[in-house]
Amino acid sequence: MILGRVVGEIWATRRDARLGGAKLLVIRPHGIYEPAFAGRHLVATDDVHAGVGDEVIVCLGAPARASAGGNDTPVDAAVLGVVDRLDFEAARLAAPGAGPGIRRPFTVDLSGTGESAGQAGAAGLGGEARR
């Protein structure tokens, strides 16, 4: 799975019947491991009622077909969950001998209040100790 942010929504009336009424979201991935999806944006089905601005977990490839109700759905990306909180230890990657680390970890700005976003950002980018 990957992390991404919902940046838009797509409406399509003429669609494959197997897609049913699945909601389609435009996701901007924070990081991608699958070359086939290495674009700036991807479109994913959504079963968990995510909205624009939400940080989400996206499932890629064949397992995403479980979304929208079946194994025969023409789907290769599906939103699996909405991120509440993220602990990300950037400092661990910067430890001696750990290699170059992740370049540009990504902006941790969860959709909640500015306060929680600040905490998440501090924990992630500053590498503060986990609770």
Binding site: M1, I2, L3, H30, G31, I32, Y33, D47, V48, H49, A50, I57, C59, L60, G61, A62, P63, A64, R65, A66, S67, N71, A78, V79, L80, G81, V82, V83, D84, R85, L86, D87, F88, E89, A90, R92, L93, A98, G99, P100, G101, I102, R103, P105, F106, G124, R130
Partner: protein
């Protein structure tokens, strides 16, 4: 599978069915030399790996077998799962 290092954890209350209560880890993928290659993965963890530990992550359909082995697991929305916690490598 790939090797990676656990660098964090993700909490999501609203999750797809079948993933309730499952722990989600942030894993930084590593290259052959063990250095992070810049890719971040969210993986389901049933082995209770902790931050800082090296793990192997299974991708694709095989990852569903970690949650529920067998042919009846196709309804699971999971494409990455921790398959093993690395103790040593030669």
């Amino acid at each position: 599978m790939i090797r990676g290092k656990v660098v964090g954890q993700v909490w999501a209350t609203r999750k797809a069915r079948g993933l309730d209560g499952q722990k989600l880890l942030l894993v930084a993928a590593q290259d052959a030399q063990g250095a992070p290659n810049g890719r971040l993965i969210v993986a389901v963890d049933v082995l209770d790996a902790h931050s800082g530990e090296d793990v192997t992550v299974a991708f694709g359909s095989g990852a569903r077998n970690v949650l529920r082995p067998g042919p009846e697991n196709r309804d699971l929305l999971c494409d990455a799962a921790v398959a093993a916690i690395v103790e040593g490598a030669g």
